[in-house]
């Protein structure tokens, strides 16, 4: 393939990355964040898979079999621990506005500047070769694609340099937008997630091509491979300490997936919401699993195809499609590897540049009185410039390392050496978030000693192997002291170098951490930070008290913040904070301690916590706090948080209670309204007879000269109306009695037919007078019911008299008694004027009259049916009406029938 074509394709791909990043930032401006998404978050975490794994996994599988898997098993195990560990780190980071792993360590141990610097320096030492490795991977893949086996000659013809420059531009554009390093790098993260997709797709396509294109599926490859003797060892764990190798590999990668600066960057700093962890917990391991499916087939396939040919196993992924003359596929694989390398370089460089500027350069500058006194608005430019220069320097050093140093080392080891380097932070970080006693001295000792051992056991041997220093140090130990041999420290032999180094470095690291922590005294600042880190959930609220005590003036604080953030942003932040916490700001007076604390936190996001501390103390007159005071403050803030929680709970309960009260009140109101309505109906009904009684008696009283006949007529009316009145009152009282349950049923067994027949006989006379035909249908036998005879009689009377009232002359009324399975049904039918369908239920309602006030119901009381209904319900029966206007009505009620046989049987059974 031609040089130009590959360069054009790579450039096009880089432009695509620019596009993705640009698109993401544009979307953010419109308020739609792409990276605020669990899938994007999980994909960005997959920056873990670099070019080293993209190409190197196949290489490792070819020489060591399945042990390449260790660096994927570790992260998979760690994913299960995301919730206890990573989530806690994320919470602390957000609460403390931490912007790098070095910042995290230093903030935990009292915002110590030297600790931040140490961590930063070790990160650079540990990771720079790793970045160089990515550049190297790009260069090698480029050479393979162009079939350029000759060594690279000079800078001008070296494409790696150009790629580095392009990446530097990309990182500077999308990585140093804001001076606040805690702000998310929307474009960068989107691009990294995009690249994760590309590298996965490319690797899978290559795997499918090898497995199903060149060979005939997995079975075919494995069968052919099993025929070759030297492959057999690859299927098993070889060597007496292979298990130790597995163990150390898994342990290393567990720590790497959290503490590699790039992993800390995407997993913690760029995390938008801890909710995203829920998906990342399974998506991230799934990605690792999928990208590894074809590693073994490609490794075996490559070995079978290139048997006895000098093709580096690290390049099989690319060499196989090339060998089979698939240019497009080869290009895709190249772009995939390029993606893997580029995304790693981008994130790692951003993370390192933040550390360099915030933890190495700025603290030194801020310590210079000249510099500190001349800080003005240009400081932001200065910070950004420092960061941009750091990016360029890091990439430059990586490039130079690749050109001049890397050739002396084996490629494979660089990744693991890097892992072992960052693993030295693990005790200080993990201990820091769970162990309050851990002190700054402990952390410093742990990291420094760990790194020294790491350097001695891993770097020194590499240098010696490369003959940069005398390799007798490996053979005989320094100064011929055998137990100091870097590969067999204290006589420990038989392990691979990584396991050996990990063992000793971790051993001394942890011991130092523990011993120094226990035997050194924490400063008040450390106590405070330790408390907050370990118990983040108790302090992780905006109410968190400040530990700061002293005198600061608002104008000084303002000008400090303005210099770093710009006037508008600084004013906004302070005013919002003051407003949220109800702090009144007097612009010319002393600042509230909380404002000072808040300012420091804001500054920490820009220049790191250690520098922020220096800056804030430069404008304040601080008083040293005693340990007791620190504890008091911590205690108070904890109490405040508890109190707040309690209050919040109380207020929720109160709201609930209020709602319940409201509801009860509403119910009472409705009941009151119903009661009022009933009362109104009743009094209203009483008014009519009362009116005529009063008026007529007045007439009789006022007119003594009335004719006897007329007087008799009036008095008879009065008597009649008085009767009506008392009748009405009885009904109201009865209904009240039934409704309140005060009425006890006087249950007897009687023949319902006899009862109805009596009523039928007496009403026949009335019906005759009205020329109404009254008929009665009944079964021939007796029909016993167990009920209150008087009340049932009342119901039948009520229904019968209603029927008589509404049936015109020459009409018909039928009484029908039928025996059903469990009930007796009594039905009274007329062919009177009928009842409209919408009233069928309402007429049994005692408030019926009240609701239909203008059209008068001629029943009189309007309570009769309500009383009937209540009586029947008390007997567990039912009452209803079927009716059609002008055709008549049919009132039916049922009551359970009495079955002495059933009772008898039951009685017999129980006596057996």
């Amino acid at each position: 393939m031609s040089n130009a074509l590959i360069i054009i394709c790579s450039l096009l791909y880089l432009l695509l990355l620019f596009g993705v990043a640009y698109f993401a930032e544009n979307r953010l401006k419109k308020g739609k964040s792409i990276i605020n998404n669990a899938y994007v978050y999980a994909l960005s975490m997959c920056v873990y898979c670099t070019a080293w794994t993209y190409y190197g996994s196949v290489g490792r599988a070819t020489t060591n079999g399945i042990s390449f898997l260790t660096i994927y098993i570790g992260p998979t195990i760690m994913a299960a621990l995301f919730f206890p560990v990573l989530r806690k780190i994320i919470r602390i980071t957000k609460a403390q506005r931490i912007n790098s792993i070095a910042d995290f360590v230093s903030t935990r141990y009292g915002k110590n500047a030297s600790l931040a610097a140490v961590v930063s320096i070790f990160c650079i030492i540990g990771v720079l070769p790793y970045i160089a490795l990515q550049l190297k991977a790009i260069a090698i893949s480029f050479d393979i694609l162009t079939n350029n086996t000759a060594a690279r000659h000079n800078f001008i013809s070296d494409n790696t340099l150009y790629f580095s420059v392009f990446l530097a531009i990309f990182i500077i554009i999308f990585g140093t937008r804001s001076v606040d390093a805690t702000e998310k790098h929307e474009g960068l993260v989107a691009a990294v997630a995009f690249e994760s997709v590309i590298k996965l797709v490319a690797f899978l396509v290559a795997g499918i091509f090898v497995t199903y294109g060149i060979f005939d599926g997995f079975d075919d490859i494995f069968y052919k491979a099993s025929q070759v003797e030297e492959f057999k060892k690859l299927f098993t764990l070889e060597g007496e300490n292979a298990h130790a190798g597995w163990f150390s590999g898994i342990l290393l990668s567990m720590m790497a997936v959290l503490f590699l600066p790039r992993q800390f960057q995407v997993g913690v700093i760029e995390n938008v919401s801890e909710e995203h962890l829920k998906k990342a917990v399974w998506l991230f391991p799934l990605y690792l699993f999928v990208i590894n499916i074809f590693v073994i087939p490609i490794a075996f396939g490559g070995k079978l195809i290139f048997y006895n040919m000098s093709v580096d196993a690290d390049t099989y992924v690319l060499a196989l499609p090339l060998h089979f003359n698939k240019p497009i596929l080869s290009m895709l694989v190249f772009i995939g590897g390029f993606s893997a390398a580029a995304s790693m370089i981008i994130v790692e460089t951003i993370a390192l540049s933040t550390m360099v500027s915030n933890n190495l350069v700025m603290p030194v500058l801020f310590r210079q009185d000249n510099f500190k006194n001349s800080i003005d608005k240009s400081i932001r430019k200065t910070i950004l410039t420092v960061r941009r220069l750091s990016i360029i320097l890091i990439l430059l050093f990586a490039y130079l390392y690749d050109q001049y140093v890397a050739q002396y080392f084996s490629l494979v080891s660089i990744g693991l050496i890097s892992f072992a380097g960052v693993a030295q932070f693990a005790p200080a970080i993990i201990g820091g978030i769970y162990w309050k006693t851990a002190s700054k001295n402990g952390a410093l000792a742990s990291i420094i000693i760990g790194f020294i051992i790491w350097f001695y056991t891993l770097i020194i041997p590499s240098i010696a192997h490369a003959h940069i220093i005398n390799d007798s140090i490996i053979q005989n130990g320094p100064f011929n002291i055998a137990w100091l041999k870097p590969n067999a420290l204290f006589g420990l032999e038989g392990f691979d170098s990584i396991t050996h180094a990990l063992f000793w470095s971790m051993f001394f690291n942890c011991c130092a951490y523990f011993v120094f922590s226990v035997y050194s005294k924490q400063s008040p600042q450390e106590v405070y930070q330790a408390e907050i880190f370990v118990d983040i959930d108790r302090y992780n609220t905006p109410e968190s008290n400040s530990i700061w005590r002293g005198t600061a003036y608002m104008p000084d604080l303002y000008s400090l913040l303005e210099n770093f953030l710009g006037k508008e942003r600084a004013t906004n932040l302070i005013q919002n904070y003051a407003h949220r916490h109800k702090i009144s700001i007097d612009h010319n007076a002393k600042a509230d301690p909380r404002i000072v604390s808040f300012s420091e936190k804001i500054l920490a996001g820009v220049i790191g916590s250690a520098s922020a501390r220096i800056m804030v103390s430069s404008v304040t007159k601080e008083e040293e706090l005693s340990l007791n005071e620190v504890f008091k403050i911590l205690h108070e803030s904890q109490q405040m948080i508890e109190l707040n929680k309690e209050l919040r709970k109380k207020s929720i309960e109160l709201t609930k209670a209020t709602e319940q009260l409201k509801e009860a009140n509403l119910q009472l109101k409705t009941m009151d309204e119903l009661k009022d309505e009933f009362l109104y109906t009743v009094t209203h009904e009483l008014r009519t007879p009362l009116t005529s009684i009063r008026s007529l008696t007045e007439i009789v009283h006022d007119n003594p000269d009335l004719e006897t006949e007329e007087r008799e007529k009036f008095l008879a009316a009065v008597v009649k109306e008085a009767e009506r009145l008392s009748h009405l009152i009885t009904k109201v009282l009865n209904l009240e009695k039934y409704e309140s349950g005060k009425q006890k049923l006087n249950l007897t067994s009687f023949d319902i037919i006899t009862l109805v027949k009596e009523l039928y006989t007496s009403y026949s006379l009335v019906a005759n007078d009205k020329k109404i035909e009254l008929s009665f249908q009944k079964p021939n036998s007796m029909l016993l019911v167990h009920a209150d005879k008087d009340l049932i009689q009342q119901v039948v009377v009520n229904l019968l008299s209603n029927a008589l009232k509404f049936t015109p002359e020459n009409g018909q009324i039928q009484i029908i008694i039928t025996e059903l399975q469990n009930d007796v049904q009594i039905c009274i039918m007329d062919n009177g004027k009928g009842i409209a369908a919408e009233l069928h239920e309402l007429i049994f309602d005692k408030f019926f009259q009240a609701r239909n006030q203008t059209i008068k119901k001629p029943e009189g009381t309007g309570l009769g049916l309500a009383i009937c209904k209540r009586i029947i319900e008390m007997h567990n029966g039912k009452i209803w009406v079927e009716s059609e206007i002008e055709k008549g009505s049919r009132f039916t009620f049922t009551i359970p029938n009495f079955e002495p046989s059933k009772n008898l049987i039951a009685h017999n059974e129980s006596s057996l």
Partner: protein, 123 residues
């Protein structure tokens, strides 16, 4: 009174109707009676009463509707409407006055009171 005022008394309760009829006659009115809405409308068609004593709740047409009818008719523009009803809620009374009634008397009433009020209304 030179010429007897014509009065129409409307109520569906026969005893109230009885007593009102006696009272009005005794006080020199020319009395007509109606036992429901339909009868009332028929009488109003044929006669021009000076006063109508109007019950509200009746089985067919309610008193409000009849009042509306009277107040909207040119023929009865001078006719005064007096509601005599058991409905004693403020809203019901207000509705009566809103429809243009001159008086609203709640049941039960005092004979003297009702006679005085109606006389005052006509003077």
């Amino acid at each position: 009174m030179n010429q007897a005022y014509k009065i129409l008394v409307v109520d569906d309760d026969p005893y109230i109707l009885m007593s009102l009829e006696f009272l009005m006659r005794k006080n020199g009115f020319d009395v007509m009676i109606a036992r429901n809405g339909t009868e009332t409308l028929e009488l109003l068609d044929q006669n021009v009463p000076d006063v109508v004593l109007l019950d509200i709740m009746m089985p067919d047409v309610d008193g409000y509707a009849i009042c509306k009818h009277i107040k909207s008719s040119e023929k009865h523009r001078l006719c005064k409407v007096v509601f005599i009803s058991a409905k004693s809620k403020e809203a019901d009374i207000q509705k009566g006055y809103d429809l243009g009634a001159e008086l609203y008397i709640t049941k039960p009433f005092s004979n003297k009171d009702i006679v005085n009020k109606i006389s005052a209304l006509l003077d």
